[in-house]
Symmetry: C2
Subunit: 484 residues, 2 copies
Amino acid sequence: HDLSKIWVNSPHSLLVYGKYDEISLWPLPQKFQSSAVAFKLSPASFQIVHAKQSSAGPSCGLLENAFRRYELHSPLFTFEPVLCYKRFCSLCVDELSIDEPSAVLKAANVWGALRGLETFSQLVYEDYYGVNKINKTDISDFPRFAHRGILLDSSRHFLPLKVILANLVTMAMNKFNVFHWHIVDDQSFPYMSRTFPELSQKGAYHPFTHVYTPSDVKMVIEFARMRGIRVIPEFDTPGHTESWGNGIKDLLTPCYSGSSPSGTFGPVNPILNSSYDFMTQFFKEISTVFPDAYIHLGGDEVDFRCWESNPDIQKFMAQQGFGTDYSKLESFYIQRLLDIVAATKKGYMVWQEVFDNGVKLKDDTVVEVWMGNKMEEELQNVTRAGFTTILSAPWYLDYISYGQDWQHYYKVEPLSFPGTDAQKKLVIGGEACLWGEYVDATNLTPRLWPRASAVAERLWSDKSVTDVGNAYNRLVQHRCRMVK
Amino acid sequence: HDLSKIWVNSPHSLLVYGKYDEISLWPLPQKFQSSAVAFKLSPASFQIVHAKQSSAGPSCGLLENAFRRYELHSPLFTFEPVLCYKRFCSLCVDELSIDEPSAVLKAANVWGALRGLETFSQLVYEDYYGVNKINKTDISDFPRFAHRGILLDSSRHFLPLKVILANLVTMAMNKFNVFHWHIVDDQSFPYMSRTFPELSQKGAYHPFTHVYTPSDVKMVIEFARMRGIRVIPEFDTPGHTESWGNGIKDLLTPCYSGSSPSGTFGPVNPILNSSYDFMTQFFKEISTVFPDAYIHLGGDEVDFRCWESNPDIQKFMAQQGFGTDYSKLESFYIQRLLDIVAATKKGYMVWQEVFDNGVKLKDDTVVEVWMGNKMEEELQNVTRAGFTTILSAPWYLDYISYGQDWQHYYKVEPLSFPGTDAQKKLVIGGEACLWGEYVDATNLTPRLWPRASAVAERLWSDKSVTDVGNAYNRLVQHRCRMVK
């Protein structure tokens, strides 16, 4: 039995390449049927081709690029611009049928085709004699949740481009589809802005070596897109902005010690028009640099002490009738920011505090639940209010402990909170977050993987896929695949 | 001010290169005096040379090799055999004086010279204009403890040679001087024996790719020696030997389920002469392959259940009058093993259980205290009995937790146990242990470093060096140096 060709029909089908005696697919497909009948795959003659009836053809650079990756096992960091661009689908269906004389992958669009190609590649195995083989298999697959993300933090420690790209490769192997790029924070501002170059000049760890240039950012976005991954940047305000203040005069609130400025600065100054003028220009740029329909606006952990210390802020509070409730001031700021960003035609994501504080949100806002203490209550509240939500609270992978903690992440059931079916549908997925306090280029990959793979399967596979022993056996194989 | 030459006088002096505005020496020298007077160092003209009065000269390959490393910043893995070989000293003194027209490093022997060269290299810094500089400095240095070790475990996961060599480079940067190579265990037997090739053929994870050949072992030993590091191999028996049983028939005790063998095996079978014949031949080989004066014989965590189940063992116990005290059987085995190894003229190290069980030990035995629960009591007991001891209990670096746990390792005071001065002197050092259950080539380096650096300074620097804030500042710089 030989298999030497894969017919690709996309948006309606694709031919593709498996593992039999130990099925080690990760994440586990929705429906899977395999038999002992094995076909040989010769790397020399193996081809992935467009099916005649496919609406995509050789002009679709994204698929051409993916074919080459899966055919040739080319080095990780090939990067080629492509012409075809389509909006991401949320729940891509794909069907994979491996049989003689060739395998067929049907997918509703290119994104489903990419997932199917990955599944196909995981089915190929070497037999005892070193021959590549794949077994007769039928798969019908789709993700349980539409939003399956990884958060990386490039501010606490700068992450070189190659670390980010390597992570995108691993994400694709796990069928993650969102790279939540927590690109700036208190510690540093590595994003190089065209409009405000002084932000990174003065706010990055180093103005030349520790920055993401416009072409770096483009490369990340395009490299991700080639693998079916959205890039959602986060520019967190009004807190977590210390590094912004180095480049932009008067952006941050001067803190006071008694009756005079202490020389330190707090959150974005919410009482100056100049702050909003800046944000308008800044997010206008961001909205064009990042093609995704969403921007993450942060809004978490605002420390009120500096605002409380500042007499001008106190005066403004009194004028607005906020009393001493500084969360009202925070909401005042966020409200104006959301309006600014909405004017760029982008949707926005925010951390849960923004919802908790009662800020008026657009209907399509995605609220990210990150606090572990009352996670189920929060999911209930957010969805009861009708907002779409994603869950990251149980998946803060920067927290480490001895042993196999992947099991804890694996056992989470995102929909276990009490609520109606309509509420459950509003939970569109989750994110594994690797905050950067103790993570840099030297340890990111082994700290994140394969732990994040547990989250990947939880977000992709059916709710019933909960057998830790079975998962362990597959994960061991999947880890080897990733290490290779 | 220019400095272009280093005169080396060894065994009585060496010329050597520092950092001033932020002194980031690690570990901190015993005596250190620095001034603001800075000399330029030109990489093009800078030389390290033997002093006229030095008893070592160009024929000492070890120093020649070290000179090249520190002069040229050559790649990590240059490896050249050398001719000169000297026994390791335990407490090498070195003195480093950096002044015009050249710096002088005096050392009692080549090992002290190596430490001094490392110190010199840490003193070199780049000024604002990118010029290499070193300040006028006087250092007089020696280690507080003679035995400063790192344990790596190449059995739970196989460690490729390059990972071991990279670790030796980092060890030298931290002035560690003992590589405790826990080379085999239950999980696998990667050591390729000339006498018993079947041990690795059948006991390694892979008989060709996951083994240490005789030339691999030689390379590790020589690479380590060039950096002043002893290699102490551990062949742990009678427990932790499952992988030995694959290659050597009848070496392990057959476990019984009721009245018949269960098919599983326990510790080395202590009642057969063939076991001791094997050990005699095996350790004869080991004693020639590893030049160090010591071999680690293990002796920890012997599980008695299999012995208890075996009727032949039960009969032997009765004959010997051991009753049901299986620790007596364990001691019976260990006693014979120690005699076998003593006949090879090697000293031995053992885990604490061997001492605890009252086995008769040679006077020069080194007892390794690893159990954290009664560490001080154990140190007291071992030293009261007059045995030399090393401490690893507080430094099991395979246990991880969130945050800066290096501080816990740093705060340990090895001599805090109650005892006489004579007892304290018997504590010759300690070891940071990185057991391999969750460690392999993908994460070893970032998991071990810089955490092990905390142990390095505790074992090298004066007892009074306990300021965590000061250590933090230096460790940040030292980490950058290691990452480079």
